[in-house]
Symmetry: C2
């Protein structure tokens, strides 16, 4: 049974605090194993990739067959049913349109001191995207990672995807094609992350690695961070739904289970001021679970981490949501914009009864790679910004240096950095002598 | 002697590659010690802070004296010389003006499908800034970290600064005052990071921690990452100067040494197409070093990591700079904007002979917390963005769901996520029955 809390109850705060601090993830300590794999790939390059792929994916490769060739790509992609292709194309187009609006502007201005200041954005040169194999090999995630990179202007976009027993996912390859991926390698696990970070004879290194993966992939990303950039290390997914009493309990039950079916560690929370709706949704969920293909996963998630909270009003619901800082926040209320304005911390907000979270996973346009485990308090979902970096610019005229330089000389002295001060003072002296260039 | 390379020489590539891959930092493995300190602070709170401060800073505190009270603050700050105050005020004002321009815009639009999409930015609620003690206690760094947080709208801004033997740095306190810091605690090291991440009886936890520190502080930031956000883990600082033959060798020598005097692990590089200028700068540096207060540090940095590279032309210099991706790039050439446009990877660019890097450390306005160790290939300096997070927003009308929902149903089926598909399909069915709300 999911936890049931009522804010007016005396023990509410204890129960809510326990829910907030519950750890949902068993992070297996695979750091040493992963360090060994990374060292081996740095050492032996392709040969190490070939060995690990034979061992873990039961697939014999050579340096020549590490990469999926264009011919194989075309053949596999040609087998995708037209309706699947159309759906993926719609998703790609909408994701591209949304992320194109995220492109930041360069700025430059000259201030009253005579300093020309600003910044410019440039893309990362090469990015690598990890795509998990098997059940968790989602074409939608390929689009969500690869399209922002392409929109940002990344020149070289690499995908590593394991193909256990040689089985490739045609929709993953089609997603790569639609997103404009340049190179696809049939390598997975920590060895793929090592190859993208350090390079091998066949795989040139990249500057940034993104994408989801299992504990080995996550540990490898942590270990190569610094050598390359990485995106967030995502935890189990979660949804929080705030609903008013007149909402359809079956729809809400489906939305809660759409989260729960991802993973037994996923978390689905309903907050409502209406105890009757809370009961109706709990009953609807109980009816729904046995009918799902992934009944076992969804059932375990709901049993272990599900929560239903009855509040005095929507204001209180919004305040609790901010304490949770959910990855996904669904506002099934009459005035969702007003309620959204009362919350501060969420990865993505879905407004109104006709915006189920699942449309956000695929086709609404915003990214579905979002901060989990309360990290929406301080971080954002994936965006074009993850594939760009800002360079600040400053140009001082001799006059500007004359105006603001003396303060730098003073501060350098106070920090005990003599050469700092002299590098400014030497120029000021030349200016004072009237021979400045 | 610094390394001297010439691009036209046969062994250039070997020497340059060796320089690129040289590791400048001995990262002492203090992970276990730090993990123990963090666990102890989580366990014992203030009592642990008091014990560590007695042991490491030779200072006896109580829960009541952990925080520097307003009265002490005023008294200490009153002792700052007027010229130092004026210099710090100028710096604060210019940093604030620059960072105010970085505030991103919220966006919202309705697309042709009828989906209202967008995003909004909200500040992190509470941020903690670590300020090192002793020699590396820089008031300029307080401004560079605290002002962007304040501009972003952070509500609660905390500083932890060790005060060994009880000695406080008046300029650090003044910088806190000018930047609008709310609470200052005389606690340092890993214990300060633990306190800000997890909270104690006296120090409420924050959501994001920034600021430089020694190996213990850096390890603690790594370990609390996830619980809170952190900024980058900075490595030793570096400058790359590209200069044409007519530049003043004494100015260039000072700029190189302004970097070298930071740290024996710092790196200063000159790239020029003019071998004569290269000679003149090397001679100027040799004359300069013995005159510096920090001669030993600057001399060691220049001897071990300094580099002078003679290229065929400026084009080649720009290409080498991109391979290095320097933290600071100084362009002492006649047309610095044109040369800047030919480079892609740098934390900050200083254009022209009258923009020495040292003005950027203090008063030009852009942030001096910048990506080191080649990470400018994929990351940016500190900015207001580090204290903001983006929440994506989507609202579909029934009509919009009818248009794009079927593609989501199709993709959910292809990914084997039944409840995802049903959560959309149930709404579509209601719409088709003409009873959609």
């Amino acid at each position: 049974m999911p936890i049931r809390l009522t804010t007016s109850a005396a023990d509410f705060e204890t129960g809510f605090a326990a829910m907030l601090s519950a750890k949902r993830e068993d992070s297996a300590d695979v750091g040493d194993v992963v360090a060994g794999i990374i060292a081996d790939v740095r050492d032996r390059g392709d040969a190490a990739l070939i060995d690990y792929t034979a061992r873990f994916d039961r697939l014999d490769l050579t340096a020549e067959t590490l990469r999926i060739p264009a011919k194989e790509m075309s053949r596999v992609v040609a087998g995708v049913p037209a309706e699947d292709r159309a759906a993926l194309e719609l998703a790609a187009e909408r994701i591209r349109a949304y992320h194109a609006r995220q492109m930041p502007q360069d700025e430059s201005w000259t201030d009253e001191a005579g300093a020309t200041l600003g910044w410019r954005w440039t893309p990362v040169t090469a990015a690598g995207l990890y795509v998990p194999g098997g059940q968790a090999s989602y074409p939608s995630s390929v689009l969500m990672n690869a399209i922002p990179a392409r929109v940002a202007g990344v020149e070289r976009l690499v995908v590593c995807v394991p193909t256990p027993d040689g089985v490739v996912n045609p929709l993953v390859l089609l997603a790569c094609e639609l997103a404009g991926v340049d190179e696809i390698y049939r390598v997975g696990g920590a060895q793929a992350i090592a190859a993208m970070a350090y390079g091998t004879e066949t795989i040139a290194p990249v500057d940034k690695i993104t994408g989801p993966g299992n504990a080995f992939v996550a540990a490898a990303k942590r270990q190569v961070f610094g050598r390359v950039g990485i995106d967030m290390i995502a935890g189990p997914s979660e949804v929080l739904i705030i609903a008013e009493g007149d909402q359809n309990p079956d729809w809400l039950a489906l939305d809660l289970m759409a989260q729960a079916e991802h993973d037994a560690d996923a978390q689905s929370i309903l907050i409502t001021p209406d105890a009757g709706l809370a009961d109706a949704v709990e009953q609807a969920v109980a009816r729904l679970i046995p009918t799902l293909d992934r009944a076992e996963i969804a059932g375990a998630s709901w049993r272990d981490y599900g929560a239903v909270i009855v509040t005095r009003d929507l204001e209180e619901a919004a305040a609790l949501s901010d304490r949770i800082a959910p990855e996904h926040l669904e506002l099934c209320v009459a005035e969702p914009e007003a309620l959204a304005a009362r919350t501060r911390h969420a990865g993505a907000i879905f407004l109104g009864a006709h915006t189920p979270e699942a449309v956000g996973d695929y086709v609404s346009g915003p990214n579905h790679v979002l901060p989990t485990a309360r990290s929406a308090r301080f971080s954002s979902g994936l965006s074009v910004m993850d594939f760009l970096k800002r360079t600040t610019l400053a140009r001082l005229t001799p006059g500007a240096l004359a105006r603001i330089g003396p303060a730098a000389v003073r501060l350098a002295a106070s920090e005990g950095l003599a050469a700092h001060g002299q590098s400014v003072a030497a120029r000021l002296q030349t200016l004072n002598e009237g021979s400045g260039t």
